[in-house]
Every structure is written in C-alpha cells, then in structure tokens.
C-alpha cells in the first residue's frame, strides 16, 4: 500500500531565504506523523507547499502514490487532503454550524448549486452537527464563529477540516495559544481522529508530540535533521543538541 503522503526534495525560498531546503519524509497510512522544529524552521512553509497554498520551487508531493505537486487546494481536497491553519482562519461572521456545513457541502459537490437552498442540504447540516457534537462544540452551533473562545476556535478549525473527510489531515499547531488542559484534550482528539485518517501534525508541545505520534520528523533551518519513532527521536543526540536541549534549557 502506498504511503499516505510522500514529500521528496521539497524546496521553497523567499528572496534570499531558503525557508525549505530539500525536505523529504513519508507519512505511513494510518499514522500520526509529527513535524517539529523551532520557530522559523520552515514547517508552515512545508504545509503550504503540500496543500497547494504555495508552489514549491523544487521537489515532489505524492498523495497515496499520485503526484499532486502544485495542485491547487480545490483539487487536493477531493483527493483526500485537508488542513488547518496555525493562525486561526474560521469564517468569523458565519455561525459555527455554517462554518462546518460549508465544508460538508463542498465535499458533497454542492458548491456550484445555485438554486436549492443551502439550508435544505440536510445531509450536510446533519453531518456538521455530528462533528460539532463529537468535538464538544454543539451548544455553540448557532453562535457566530467570531464569538467563540480562542480554544474553541482552534477546535472549530479541526471540525471544518473533518467535514471534508480527509484521508490525510494536516494540523498546523492546533494547540497554539491553548492552556495545558486544552492541549491535553486536543492530544486525545488527534488520537481519536487518527483511527480514521492519517495525520500530519505540526506541534510545539513536546510532551504531546512524543506521547501521540507514531513517527516524528525534526526540521531546523529548512532541513530535516532526523526522522524516526518518538523513542528514537528523544534519544537522538543531533536532535537534543539542535532542538530538545534548547527547549529543555528554556523550560528549566
């Protein structure tokens, strides 16, 4: 069986800065694969190149064996890829339910339907509500997304992505700005989601990454410096020098 995602020799520069410099890794089907590294390592840029928001200068992206390099998002999503954003992007002035229902209708191929009322696309509404219930957001279904607390907005990001029923879900720092308790909740959630889909996770919380990942890839300065199981990564001296040590020092 082909890997859920293979990234080969991916490169992307901003002016003189090589933000991503020959990055490669593979996400096995059904895995939670984490991409970690200090701020500015190029993780979000890798995400953007995979998900069609940036065109990589070099390299290839394979989704279940198919070359999808530089496909636009509206082709990648039907192919089974969905992502969230590090900086929350929800539809602020639409209701929480509508945020998720939009994604469900998109997946159901309704986007170009111009006559039937969106509110009558019952399957999308039902599905959206189910997802909100699963994620504990159902009571806020009719609130405007803008009015959600930060943590709930981060969860709404995930809810929107789940409504696309991805085979590979890419989460860019889902716990950004969250409390320890909320972070733990997200960690459990990711594991639950992983029962149905492969996950590529960018995450800062080291404890969480080591706890829930099947594989970890470590980036610094646009390059991959290590890839392996959480155990192997936490013992890797390169990683300790470049990253974990720095984090530990800060945490002390």
């Amino acid at each position: 069986m082909a890997d859920a995602l293979v990234v080969e020799e991916l490169s992307k520069s901003f002016g003189a800065l090589r933000a991503v410099d020959g990055v490669g890794f593979a996400v096995k089907d059904g895995d939670v694969h984490s991409l970690i590294g200090p701020n500015g390592a190029g993780k979000t840029t890798v995400f953007n190149c995979i998900s069609g928001f940036l065109r990589p200068a070099e390299g290839r992206v394979l989704l279940r064996g198919e070359d999808v390099t530089a496909w636009p998002p509206h082709r990648l999503i039907p192919a089974g890829l969905a992502r969230t954003f590090q900086i929350t992007k929800v539809f602020g002035d639409l209701t929480v339910l509508e945020n998720v229902a939009l994604a469900a209708r998109s997946r159901l191929g309704q986007n170009l339907r111009m006559w039937r009322r969106a509110s009558k696309v019952t399957s999308a509404n039902v599905e959206a509500l189910e997802i909100l219930e699963m994620l504990g957001l159902a009571e806020n279904a009719s609130a405007n997304a803008d009015h959600l607390a930060h943590g709930d907005k981060r969860i709404l990001e995930i809810a929107i992505a789940l409504a696309l029923r991805p085979r590979l879900l890419m989460l860019d720092e889902p716990t950004a700005g969250m409390s320890a308790g909320e972070t733990e909740h997200i960690g459990k959630l990711v594991r639950r989601i992983a029962a149905r889909t492969s996950v590529l996770l960018v995450e800062h919380d080291m404890e969480m990454v080591l706890g829930i990942s099947d594989q970890v890839t470590v980036m610094t300065q646009g390059r991959v410096i290590a890839s392996g199981t959480p155990d192997a990564i936490s013992r890797d001296t390169n990683v300790q020098d470049a990253y974990l040590g720095a984090l530990d020092a800060r945490n002390l």
Partner: protein, 309 residues
Amino acid sequence: MLFAAGAIALAALPYAGVPPFTITLLTEAFIFAIWAMSLDLLVGYTGLVTFGHAAAFGLGSYAAGYFAREVTADFFAALLVAEAIVVGLAVTIGFVVTRVSGVAFAIISLAIAQVLFQIAIAWRPVTEGMDGLVGVPLPKIAGFTIDAGAEFYLLTIATLVLVYLGLSRLVASSFGRTLQAIRTNEERAAAIGINVRLHKWIAFTVSWGVAGIGGTLMVFMKAGTTPMSLHWSESGNVLVMAIFGGVGTLFGPMIGAVAFVFLRDEFTTRFEAWQLAFGLVFVVVVLAFPSGLAGIFARAWRALWPTRS
C-alpha cells in the same frame, strides 16, 4: 407574504392617485434598485468592491437601446441582445479581473469602465459620441407598446420582483454561501475546496448580467443614454446606494436606491450643492449605522417586536 403585499401595494400606486412625477421617480429608483442589488452580490456577498459597476449598466443601456432603435423595439429581444453582450464581456474580463482582489480589483474594474466610457465617446457611428444615443422607441411586449408612465412602471416592478427573488434564492443557495465564505476568509474558503477564482468569476458575471437588465430598462425609460452612464461618478453613485442601504442584505441596496433618488430630488430643488447635502446624510447614516438603512430598519423592527424567543 410581506414582500408580496408590498409589491402589490407599490404596483397599485399609479391607480391610487399618486402623481405621474412621483411614479417616474419610483420607476427610476426601482431600476437603480436592480443595479444596486447586482452590486451587492459583488460587494456585500463576495467582498469584491468595484469602482466600475457603471460599465455593466451603461453597456446594457447602449446595447439594448441601439438594438431597439435599429432592429426591433421588442423588450425581450432587446434584453436578450443586451444580456448576450454584457454577459459575454463579463465572462471575458471577469476571467482577468477576478485574479486579483482588494484595491487592485477596484482599480482594474474602474479602468475597464473608463475604457468603455472613452469608446462611447469615440465610436461615433454607433454611439453618436458625447451627444449620446437618442430616439430609442418605447418597448413592446408581444406586439403591444408599453407606454411610458404606469405601464412602464409596472414592467419595472415586475422585473425588480423577479430579480429580487432570483438573487435571494442565489445568495441562499450553496453557491451563494460559498461567496459569503470567500468574502469572510478567502484562504479558508480555498482550504475547504472552494475554487475561489471560479466562484468570483461566476459572481462577477451574474452581477454584470443583472446590472445589464437595469441598463436595458433605463434606456427604454429615458429613450436614450449618454456616455455619462458609463462615467466613474455613476459607479460611485451605485456604491453609495448600496452602502447607504446596507450591503450583504439585497434588501438594503433596494432601499438605498429609493432613498438616493428621492433625496437627490429633494436636495436638487432646495440646495445648489445637493451632492454635499446628500454626502452629509450619507456619512451620518453610515457612521451611525454601519449596516446602512437596512440596519436601521432591522433595529426598528426588533424594537417593535421584542424577541419572541
């Protein structure tokens, strides 16, 4: 229900002793209402602010007027020809302009309208230059001439009702919701699989098509048109109507258009600097009620009918 009752009441006005002058103003207002709603689809729903929406309206006027004078005064034939031209051009330029957003979109759409304005001045054999197109006959439907005044007013109301119902359906559809998603957060819209450019392109084309309907009615009402119908100041006027009434509601721009026409009429007879007077009213309303006249009505409505939930 309320809407149907309102439409019927409005349709009865010419037969209820309302003076012809007022009917003329209302006719103009309702034509502008069609135009302002078409703009709302772009500005209020899709988040594309255009400074060149006169292009669609003026082009519709020229196409329908020229055809009616030279070929046949049949209303639907003229409308069809105008739509073919307006929509055809919208598809073409929409493909280009919807590649950009924000200020760039506003400026490019303005530039396109100015190009049409210059063509209308320069292409004298067809447009008769600065003098404008004159001698457009009264429209005919099924061979019957639609007289200026009450009959044309009814035709306008019927068109307005159809356009309003059609656009209401459109904005409530899955497609309409994708437009609101794009307005709210373009990147997020792309990330749920919406083909943002395609959707903007379609919205642009529909918006122009609807504006072309307004332009067609207007050229019949005025029995002609001039290059001024394509001027940037007209694009400004329709923006004012839509914002004044409250964008993103369809209903708001309709009220805005009516308010615009009647306030303009009031102020031109009283003040020399009517635009200044209107500008002041506009600023006050928009500052006090960012959601425009529709916002005022919504508030009054809620005050009259305190929450029943």
